[in-house]
Symmetry: C2
Subunit: 335 residues, 2 copies
DNA sequence: GTGAAAGCGCTAACAG
DNA sequence: CTGTTAGCGCTTTCAC
């Protein structure tokens, strides 16, 4: 593996000049740049990241912390982050919290060891205590996605989650459903709380009481949503509709329909927050609340790279994106 | 950020002793280990990876190169690789080739800059010319998954792809189909060639001629499979069944059924290689050939870590896993 | 633009 | 086990 010295001697220039050419960190004449670049190409030289990082204290590494890469929603996020980062000369570490905040902290620790230049974090909790732990562990520019975290100064990119819940529940109410169950995620995380709040507001909007809605916590997990839905559906007075607050849970709910041999929307309706790329070939084709994932992710990574480059403090502002109701086949009037 | 010197002075030991404790690279008494570990905890010390890497020449980094993380199949691979690596003290870079071999080479270059300790590579081509390019770019232990590459000495973990094709096509033939189309990936990659060969053998097994099968290349892409299927189905003499050689293409085919208002299996049957976790809620529930992804990935990462640790040369052997036919609703007798 | 030199934090080798 | 030392490859500074 060749070093910067090899390039310098081959190009007949000083080692510091090679560094200047590579990093555009000092003015260099076109002729010198050409000579150096040719030498680099001939030798096949590649700067050693570890040495650059050690010496400069800056790492060209971005950390992306998401709940689960096997969730298509976050896979999209990952694709966007990686490709934008790559164009900016950063590589990306992608790690999964599995919705576990201890795990989240461990990942943060690893990110610190790597001296990542910045983080995009979809956090597991929104409370200030968690925020304090985060602040103790994170020492680099960070953008929060999906949920906010109390006591942190970071920029936040989310859906308008209240509106998402309102749209979802509103759809069911407008179809005439009143005995509705909500498959919720986990308390203490804003994504969940705000979507639930939206559900409540949908009732209020129509002058209805929210009291009858059964809220089930499934930790955003498909498996738990499956189990909980089976439980709900095996009751004598089963709900006529279910609103699911995120995509994996929607799948769990739909699998429970199959297991219970219930047809949707005939026997039970379902509306889910988060859309599916493959909705066309799902059974039933689900009515969903879609979010502009790509735009949201681009906003997050743009802000992050900007903060890294300029060294500016985060604005601490929250940028909310608009959810959109996608009507498909899974919701009908109650039987 | 504290350094190893801070730990040493706090624990009242030599800097080299701290290093020995961290890396278990020299015998240390239990008492000293305890003192050092306490000091580490008190200060919140974390070794700086860049310095370790630079000095030792070894990086505790693994590269995983896959076609597309948004493909659930590879998302599973990524999850397994990351979690096994983490337990072994390695972090993972995950990058996507998008089935483009130039892109594959660029990623390899980045991996070299990072001095990754090893690679798991799902390559885009199997020819020896590509193998030569790979050998020029890769200087670290590597395990190939999914496809083999000529002219490389690496261990290989794959499905028994011939058998997978044989099972898939055999299923259709046994149901009586004769006018069958094969949605194939890309020529020049063993995954594709061997699965196709399996399709041929399924005919031969039954004393039938393969001639009538139309093979369509869709580059493993959902979008292209969708377009090609629409084209196939709009003919006067349309196929009665389609075999899809990988999962995203199966989805593309199924979406084309919806677009063409065709019902499966009534109007056309489909069998796909690669199973779906959410097959229950797909329409139709697809008959597939499943592969033991988790076991295959564990085998790959185990081999890789072993080669990294021992420094042994790869055996160059190919480990084939057994495919399994999963019968669901999407295949019936021809109309 | 050059050339020399310091030093980032760590590992590894060695003499005590 | 300690303490010292060299040096991984690079960036950065400084005098020229």
């Amino acid at each position: 593996m060749s070093t910067i010295r090899d390039v310098a001697s081959r190009a007949g220039v000083a080692i510091s000049t090679v560094s200047a050419v590579i990093n555009r960190s000092a003015p260099t004449s076109a002729a010198v740049v050409a000579r150096v670049e040719q030498a680099i190409a001939e030798i096949g030289y590649m700067p050693q990241r570890a040495a650059q990082t050690l010496r400069s204290g800056r790492s060209r590494l971005i950390g992306l912390i998401i709940p689960d890469i096997a969730n298509p929603h976050f896979a999209t996020v990952a694709r966007v982050v990686e490709s934008v980062c790559l164009r900016a000369g950063y590589m990306t570490f992608i790690y999964n919290t599995d919705e576990d905040s201890d795990h989240e902290m461990q990942i943060l620790k690893m990110m610190r060891m790597q001296r990542v230049a910045g983080l995009i974090l979809i956090s597991t909790r929104s409370d200030a205590k968690h925020g304090a732990r985060l602040m103790a562990e994170i020492g680099v520019p960070t953008v929060l996605m999906g949920s906010h975290v109390g006591g942190t100064p970071f920029d936040i990119i989310t859906l308008d989650d209240v509106r998402a819940g309102r749209l979802a529940m509103g759809r069911l109410l407008d179809l005439g459903h009143r005995r509705i169950a909500a498959m919720a995620g986990r308390s203490g995380v804003s994504t969940n709380e705000e979507r639930l709040e939206g559900c409540r507001l949908a009732f209020a909007d129509r002058g209805l009481a929210f009291g009858d809605v059964e809220i089930v916590l499934a930790n955003f997990s498909e498996e738990r949503a499956f189990d909980e839905t089976r439980r709900l559906l095996s009751r004598k007075q089963r709900p006529t509709a279910i609103v699911s607050l995120s995509n994996l849970m929607t799948i769990g709910v739909m699998r429970a329909f199959v297991a219970e041999r219930l047809e949707s929307p005939r026997d039970v309706s379902i509306v889910g927050i988060d859309d599916f790329e493959w909705a066309e070939i799902m059974n039933p084709q689900p009515t969903t609340i879609a979010q502009p994932i790509v735009e949201m992710t681009e906003a997050a990574i743009t802000r992050l790279l900007d903060q890294i480059k300029t060294g500016h403090k985060p604005s601490g502002r929250r940028l909310c994106f608009e959810p959109r109701l996608v009507v498909r086949a899974s919701c009908g009037a109650p039987a």
